[in-house]
Symmetry: C2
Subunit: 191 residues, 2 copies
């Protein structure tokens, strides 16, 4: 039957560790950090706990690895946008607002971030990560508004509202009737 399980397929430096983390993010999105448990994870991956404790010291190690991974992903997302200076700042802001927020992919990402923010209420490391990412994003948006001609304090305020709108679009449950997020670009970007 096919190639069975690729236990040692030449090119696997530590690819399975990533698989654990990916599955862990799945559980995080569904039930919060407390739902990221070793046994259910192993069952989902079709292996036993024996595997887990080879890749990670304990459950806490996985949690910290997840935090590090989330930090990396969120940072990269902003970083790549800073790199690609293709369009004008207002266009880029509009593009950000136009990003899909109803796809399974984006909904999952929102749930993950929501879970991490809740986690940050008790875990200092999680709080640090969230604070860091918030700072990076706000700085990026403020810079774009600055490039549009706004002064520093004004750009900061506008960036905060912009960011707030993005988050609310993901966290607030609206029916199609109340969903006005599509029209917000004009109000925020074009004043």
């Amino acid at each position: 039957m096919s190639t069975a399980s690729p236990r040692r397929t030449a090119a696997s430096p530590s690819l399975d560790t990533a698989a654990w983390i990916d599955a862990a993010f799945e559980m995080l999105a569904e039930g919060g950090i407390d739902a990221v448990r070793v046994d259910p994870l192993a069952k989902r991956l079709g292996v036993t706990r024996g595997s887990f404790y080879w890749h990670f010291k304990d459950r806490e190690a996985l949690h910290q690895a997840m935090l590090k991974e989330w930090r990396k992903r969120a940072s990269y997302q902003i970083g790549s946008r800073i790199e690609s200076r293709t369009s004008a700042p207002d266009e880029r802001l509009k593009q950000t607002l136009a990003l899909p927020n109803s796809t399974p992919r984006s909904k999952r990402a929102a749930a993950i971030e929501l879970a991490i923010r809740l986690w940050a209420q008790r875990d200092a490391n999680a709080a640090k990560a969230v604070q860091h990412i918030d700072r990076v994003r706000l700085k990026y948006y403020a810079q774009l508004f600055g490039e549009m001609g706004l002064a520093q304090p004004e750009a900061r305020k506008r960036a905060f509202m912009f960011y707030a709108t993005l988050l609310a679009r993901a966290y607030v449950i609206t029916d199609a009737d109340t969903d006005v997020s599509a029209d917000l670009a004009a109000l925020l970007v074009d004043p």
Copy 2:
């Protein structure tokens, strides 16, 4: 010593059920809905599980009771503001923005709501409750903006941004440097 434990102090129609729910909200704020467990709750209240299963059928019953209670509280909060038509709409909006968001009390409330929003990702009842509260709040804010002279669609957008800013103020971790929420009133309410 004093009155010991008020097991049957005349006026207690079901006051202990409320105590269970209050403690449950504490745990909800700290660890999400999965952390709302019977044993830890009983230990926190200084009783055994025997008490719990007298007040509630099972763990799920407590969760639903919490949802009902949160719905009631959040609805009442808005309802009482609608009642007290003391000041002008713009003043009331500014007052809402001026509400404290760094006190332990408000931080706890934010954590509770964050936990419920995460919970709403998998539980249909929680999703219904969140959707209901979001709708009530947005409607209230839109009405205020409407009273300020804005047309319906414009008032709706402004209400969404206003609500988004409120939420972000609670969920986004900012350092004092980036905290511009205090100056947002002018930008949102006074255009």
